[in-house]
Amino acid sequence: MTGIDIRNVTKRFDLDGRSLTALEGIDLSVPEGSFAALIGPSGCGKSTLLRLIADVFAPSEGAIAVGGRPPREARLSHEIGFVFQAATLLPWRTVRENVALPAEIAGVTPRRSAEALIDLVGLHGFENAKPAQLSGGMQQRVAIARALMLEPKVLLMDEPFGALDEITRQRMNVELLRIWRESGTTAVLVTHTISEAVFMADRVHVLSANPGRVTGVVDVDLPRPRDFGLMKTSRFNALENAVRQLLFDEEENGAAKARAHG
């Protein structure tokens, strides 16, 4: 069991002595081997939630289990792969050295070589290149290969393609789905693009801001493997609209509330 279970999690930050509630009463579960998307307006705490799962922060209240264990244990046994919005490659290392970094730190000989992972993300021939020589999309592929180095049971991605152009982003999404299927990992994707969330996920969790709450869940019953053709179907559009509804209803309610109070 390496699903993710989040039970009644609240996260508060102290900002200059003031307490700020980033997330409140989050209940969410991601079944083993499935693909979940977290979507919401900026400031809804979706990145914070991802970092709670990765044990970068600890929740103020509630509990998180990764494969039935506390996130800290999962992290220390190298079960978590994390992809940031920026590729976050070490500029002094080659592509191969960047991909191999997790194995080097864990002190293990990986079952799958760095070269095989570089092939998997389609960067064959760039093993000895430096990050500065790669385009943004290629850098992000390196970051994904690195996240997969230790065959993590959980792959967490924080708007991994947010900085890429629309065309590159769609291509990367298709590739990411292929890589995810091959690796069999449980995946959580943070995004602010509705079509991306629907296209990628088995289940889309919609969050609202101030404080971050889960306002709804959309189950995506589209067949896999998925391709671009799927985006033209009415089922895809209906699911997109369902997510949109959850996102903007909440926003309108918030605005109405603000008007009433103002």
Binding site: R75, F84, T88, W92, I105, K130, Q133
Partner: protein, 258 residues
């Protein structure tokens, strides 16, 4: 390759020609008796180099040693203090204040007082050299130790890296470009510190050679020692500039802003 060499020559000849023209003009001015007695002909300084390079090397040795040792001690202390400042945020303010205090100490006034405590030998030269170059080293290292990106820091956390792995695989490589720019500024200052200290008293050293030459009104020798000190300072800067360039080229990184 050939093109690189050609562009190097293209870049080098205008300043070289300018320098040669200035030297020739000075030579002519001295020959025409247009200069005060304190300005020697370049040829006289060159002759002085040819005559007494043995003496110069004899004095240069301890100066270089004091400079290098002072630099090393200063760099170690700066690394320690910058490390404390980076690890413990409350300390970073006092650390910088200490650096500014050291930097604003008038060395030329303090050195004679130091003689009372440590005498006028090598110890004094090393201490003054270390003091003179401390501040840029401290600033370079403080900035360097803070150069780790937040995401990279989180990455190493998620990878469950040990403190040692973080230091060796992340903090030091991130800091190096900043350290280089600190080293480049500090090296000539350490040379200046040694010179000031040697003026106060030394058995051997370029500084004391300079003082003797001044007292005996040996104008070409004074200028020879001045040029020697300049070469030491440029050498120190150049050494770190070369290491920096080689490192940045090898890693494909960019120089830190100074």
């Amino acid at each position: 390759m050939a093109e690189a060499r050609r562009s190097w020559i293209a870049e080098a000849w205008p300043p070289a020609l300018t320098l040669a023209a200035l030297v020739a003009a000075l030579e002519a001015a001295v020959a025409a008796g247009m200069t005060p007695v304190t300005i020697p002909a370049p040829s006289a300084v060159a002759a002085e180099f040819a005559d007494s390079w043995g003496d110069l090397l004899y004095h240069l040795g301890p100066s270089v040693a004091a400079t290098a040792l002072g630099f090393l001690i200063s760099a170690s202390l700066a690394a320690l203090l910058a490390g404390i400042g980076a690890a413990w945020r409350k300390a970073s303010g006092p650390v910088m204040t200490f650096g500014i205090l050291i930097d604003s100490t008038p060395l030329i006034a303090v050195a004679p007082i130091l003689i009372v405590f440590v005498g006028g030998g090598m110890t004094l030269h090393v201490i003054v050299a270390a003091t003179a170059c401390f501040f840029p080293l401290l600033v370079g290292m403080s900035r360097g130790f803070r150069a780790v990106e937040r995401n990279a820091d989180e990455l190493f956390h998620v990878l469950a890296a040990s403190r040692w792995q973080r230091l060796v695989k992340l903090a030091l490589p991130s800091a190096l470009p900043y350290l280089f720019s600190g080293f480049k500024i500090a090296a000539p200052l350490a040379v200046l510190g040694t010179l000031i200290a040697e003026w106060m008293g030394a058995e051997r050293g370029v500084g004391i050679m300079m003082i003797y030459a001044m007292f005996s009104f040996d104008v070409p020798q004074v200028w020879m020692t001045i040029l020697a000190v300049c070469l030491m300072a440029i050498g120190g800067y150049g050494l770190f500039a070369l290491i920096e360039r080689a490192y940045l080229r090898r890693t494909g990184m960019e120089a830190a802003p100074t």
